[in-house]
Amino acid sequence: MNQLSFVYVIYIASTPEKVWEALTNENLTAEYWAHKNVSDWKTGSKWEHRRAKDFSKIDGAGEIIESVPPKKLVISWAEGGNVEKKSRVSFEIEPVFDTVRLTVTHEELDSATLRGITQGWPAVLSSLKTFLESGHGLDLIRRWTEER
């Protein structure tokens, strides 16, 4: 792991299957991330991070590096679809008693992408948690996306 790596951990009162579904179902990501994450989520497939309100705008894209539902998903992430700036994101889903521990690791980042990322993930994960626990995502993500 190089120095420009980030690790985020959040505990969610849910099941691994629901967390997996929330990460990979484009209609659900639209609810809490303001983006549709579009893919068949099979190893080697492509994925796209498209704005829910303006489907033609692609804010990120990459490939599925590893896919083990409902435990582990590793994807490459090219910000804005720019393949030159590719980083790697891993989602690890583990049950802990009656909750789920979701660990998101973002590695191989360049320092330019870094700033946006460090501000972005805590908000996205908080929104995911709120969405799974209450049925609604955070309004803040939608507003950020619209102001971009």
């Binding site: 792991m1 120095q3 790596s5 980030f6 690790v7 985020y8 951990v9 959040i10 505990y11 802990v96 008693f97 009656d98 909750t99 660990t103 690791t105 460090t118 993930w121 805590p122 908000a123 994960l125 908080s126 955070l138 309004d139 803040l140 507003r143």
Partner: protein
């Protein structure tokens, strides 16, 4: 079983200056070993281990094994949750502006 990541744990962990200092150091350089974190501090290795445990219980620090090294990472998610609880939907931009103003003015004084 909601002790981990609970708001009490976060405030308890942040209440100690040594623990805040450890977070500051991880903020500057993320992913450090226990040895890295012990270097240049005036407390014992045991004390650093104890503080790290409290930070980990509060989910503010995450330890990950990479080969034979155990690296510690700052996890800002619980702080974001605390922030989100009391900062209103429309206040964040204005507050960011005030913090920016304070930093700029204090920087000039130096």
């Amino acid at each position: 079983m909601h002790i981990i990541g609970g708001v009490d744990g976060v405030f308890k962990a942040l209440a100690d200056p040594h623990r805040r200092c450890l977070l500051d150091r991880l903020y500057k350089r993320n992913g450090q070993t226990l040895g890295d974190l012990c270097a240049g501090v005036d407390i014992t290795r045991q004390a650093v281990t104890k503080h790290l445990k409290v930070l980990q219980d509060a989910n503010l620090v995450v330890a990950i094994w990479r080969g034979r090294e155990k690296l510690h990472y700052l996890n800002p998610v619980p702080i974001h949750q605390v922030y989100q609880r009391w900062i209103g939907k429309y206040e964040s931009n204005r507050l960011a502006m005030l913090v920016q103003l304070k930093n700029t003015l204090e920087e000039k004084k130096k």
